[in-house]
Amino acid sequence: MINIFDGAMGTILQADGILKPGVCPELLNIQSAQAIINVHKQYISAGATIIETNTFGGSSLKLAQYGLTDKVRAINIAGVKNAKAAMQHNGKVAGSMGPIGRFIEPLGDISFDTVYKAYFEQASALAEGGADYILIETCIDLQEMRAALLAAKDAAPGIPVICQMSYSEDARTVTGTDPQTAAITLEAMGADIIGANCSTGPEELLPIVKILAQNCKCPISVQPNAGMPHLINGKTIFPMHPADMGKWAPKLIEAGATFIGGCCGTTPAHIAAIKEAVSGLADPVRSPLPHRLALTSRTKTIFIGTDLPTRLIGERINPTGRKKLAAEIKAGSFISVKKEAVEQTNAGADILDVNMGVGGIDQTAAMEKAIKEIAQIVSTPLSIDTSDPKALEAGLKVYPGRALINSVSAEPDRLKYFLPLAKRYGAAVLCLPLSDKGLPKTGSERVAIIEKIIAAAKQAGLQDNDFILDCLVMTVAADKTAALEVLQALSLYHSKFGYPSTMGLSNISFGLPDRPLINSTFFAMCLAYGLNAPIMNPYDSLMKNTLLAASALNGNDPHGQHYSLTIAKQPHSETAAAAEVTPRNIIEAIKHSIIVGEKENIAQMVEHALKEGHTSNEITENALTTAMNAVGKDFGAKKIFLPQVMLSAEAMREAFLKIKEILPSQASANKGTVVIATVKGDIHDLGKNIVSALLENNGFKLIDLGKDVDSEKIVRTAIENDADIVGLCSLMTTTMTQIDKVIASLKKAGSTAQVIVGGAVLTQEYADSAGADAYAEDGVIAVEIAKKLTAKRKGSQAL
């Protein structure tokens, strides 16, 4: 049966002069009930079979804008009553809930729970009023939809929930969700009807309806705008004529929709046209869904299936046995966690396992934070790996997608606490053949335990496409049949359940030498027996090459094409061997390394040179200084650029550090003392740091006072240290006058230091007017000037 929704409400109320600027539209349910009923009646006359309540902005978070948070219940109940009064039992009423106008953390600044509570309150009132459906519409973020859907199902059990997201012209929501991902995620969470509304017209929504219909079993709803909007004389106009709208309706039905209506710019005439166009049409024929497990992130879906290529589950976000990672997580830093997420994804992981098993921390908080951070930085779907139901729920709640739960065993606590969470948050389940009776020995024992888990899961409401089965790998060193029983389990899983399979492979080789060889051989055997999604280290090149080779052998990579291309690109390790440092002329070699900025071997070379009998002075003058002069010259000629100069400076630093380490007394080749600072009020650091580094590595003694330094401190330091040079940096027009102030104070205090100034906004003219001795356009020039000025100062002091 084709159900017809109504069209827009606000524009009619505005045109009739009932809705005035600044007035809360939802309050009209109480203050102008008859006017609302009249609009509903116009749509019923046009043929609508479902009327939407005038409660789009009826949540406490939206009503707060009008100071009406205490009216949520009254407004929403009145909204339903008005629709019912108009409908007179000749159709259904859908209680409308629109977006709350803010993004949920970490995209925005409001918590999932706060949004959930607001929707719960609204849905409760809509249910109390007697709504036949709860309609969550115009959602632009999947996470907001998830909060609203959970709230609607909790507040109005038994009332079907319609979930309509709003897709832009790129066929994604504002926060990047595609319709396939939305359909899979929302159906798994229990949405009854899934659809799209607003943002675009029927033409743009047609492909979206098709994708929705191809990716879930739910009925599909669609409510397009009357075309794309134009602003004419300050008014937003939707140009599509009712007759044109009507022409699109049969196409939308054919694509899979059985609920159809209008959004912005549509009128009773548009609805009448739709009604006429679809009357007599049969329900669309929907194809059955393939038997696959789907996992989603906010922006991506990954399928795992026995008919699909192998998927890798990256295991590296796990602090077990990784002290540094554990310490970081304990200290509240998730930088390495994010790094592992990105790097594993780049290395080919299709799913990322997230384990926060660090002793002595709040695992729930850590899991919540980790999932939020990872979901912001990668699109790869996640597997939440924990034995703690609280940590699991925290992770599932904040994850804007359909996660995998790792894992559910047949242990009573897991069945009791984990399965309802999987159902509630629409997660998939990794079934682990482990029970309170201990470890299974044979493949058949594994099957028996899995049967028990699946039965309990189905009782909890999960379905066939919610499972992936683990083979539970044991150590072959302890049990000679361990590998064979896993292979047996793979065969039995495949024939008995048809669900995809997984396992953590590396346990097989525990206690044996050359574990990588055992692991990769076992991996190949498992792939031959149909392993679909191994949990493994995606950086392990041997394992990855094994997968490549196995894919070519088992027919997943026709003609070994992918195998051939990938192997051809891999570097040959023999060529990567580091060359030994045996230069003919060590001074020339050091010089060359400085010029090209190779710091890796420089310390070794300096040591070599000193052993050969070269003095530190010889190395400094003939290799280091000569090299830096050449670098400066190339920079001046624009043959090289500043980051390259800095690489040379780094090499120089390594050389100096080595000389200092071996000959501490000879390392003080002091060309002069420089006090350097970014002036008061200016917090730019980098430019000054570059100049400091270059001066220091050209033999100057540096006193770096940092940024935002007041005049008094600069002057005092210059006097106390009898500075040869004072370097002042300013990058803002608002702070450069500080330079004048420092120079005047230096002179007043009797400092004879030469002043060099620089920074983005400064010019030679400004330097002159401020009384500086020199202006340096960049760091390299600053070094040249510093050398000249110190020589000059020392010369004049000698006189």
Binding site: G101, R102, F103, L107, G108, D109, I140, S168, V174, T175, C198, S199, N225, P229, H230, L231, I232, G234, T236, I237, C264, I335, S336, K338, K339, V342, E343, Q376, I377, S379, G597, F641, L642, P643, Q644, M646, L647, A649, E650, R653, E654, G681, D682, I683, H684, D685, L686, N689, I690, A693, D708, M732, T733, T734, T735, A760, V761, L762, T763, E777
Partner: protein, 223 residues
């Protein structure tokens, strides 16, 4: 919708190369890519914005209190705008500490590349925020023109306090110093003009020609 913390899933190596002043230099590309990746781990992108009516005849943002825009180039840029969006973005203060630490450990080149990657990251965060704003302004029939920041052309940075207040920047932790610098340093405020979709007006992107930073290494020289 005042807050949107756009995910930063990658940082553009090409832009980072440009900000690092490397132009087309033969430089270790992997080092640039590494700096870009590192930035995605340490950056904490945040954004806030607000939409206002705009009086394009007098150059006044109709906020309370009113905000008068001063500067001939920005006024010309906004001359067809009926509404404006004021936005602020930052990638947080940790980035700066990380860069400073890298530099002080003697990894000068990496420090420079990270600084360039951070600048790229802020701009990308602003780009993402703009796209997000489109979703709210396009259904009203408006198109967006290039964002324009205080300090460009002759638009004085002394308006930063108004820019921060009207873009709700305090909510994402951006403040200004007495000298009108933004803190954290890797932050941006900007104004975006909203022009009716049907209006053919399409201003030129603010270019080097409108900028007063004559010594900038990224400056495109006139041929």
């Amino acid at each position: 919708m005042p807050i949107y913390n756009a995910p930063l899933k990658n940082v553009d190596p090409k832009e980072t190369r440009r900000y690092a002043g490397l132009a087309n230099a033969d430089f270790n590309e992997q080092a640039i890519v590494d700096a870009c990746n590192e930035m995605t781990y340490i950056a904490e992108p945040r954004g806030s914005w607000e939409i206002y009516d705009y009086d394009n005849e007098q150059g006044i943002v109709l906020a309370s209190p009113l905000f008068k825009i001063q500067g001939s180039k920005i006024l010309k840029h906004l001359s067809h705008s009926k509404k404006v969006v004021l936005l602020a973005v930052t990638i947080g203060g940790n980035v700066e500490n990380f860069i400073a630490k890298t530099f002080h450990n003697g990894n000068y080149s990496q420090g420079m590349l990270l600084d360039a990657a951070a600048t790229t990251a802020v701009e990308q965060t602003a780009d993402s925020l703009e796209k997000n704003i489109d979703a709210f302004t396009r259904p009203l029939g408006y198109k967006r023109i290039w964002r324009f920041s205080p300090g460009y052309g002759d638009w004085d940075i002394n308006c930063q306090p108004q820019m921060l207040r009207l873009s709700n920047a305090a909510m994402i932790g951006i403040h200004h110093t007495d000298s009108m610098m933004l803190d954290p340093r890797k932050s941006v405020t900007a104004i975006i003009g909203l022009v009716p979709e049907m209006d053919p007006f399409s201003p030129q992107k603010p270019s080097c020609a409108t900028c007063q930073q004559k010594n900038c290494h990224s400056r495109v020289k006139k041929k």
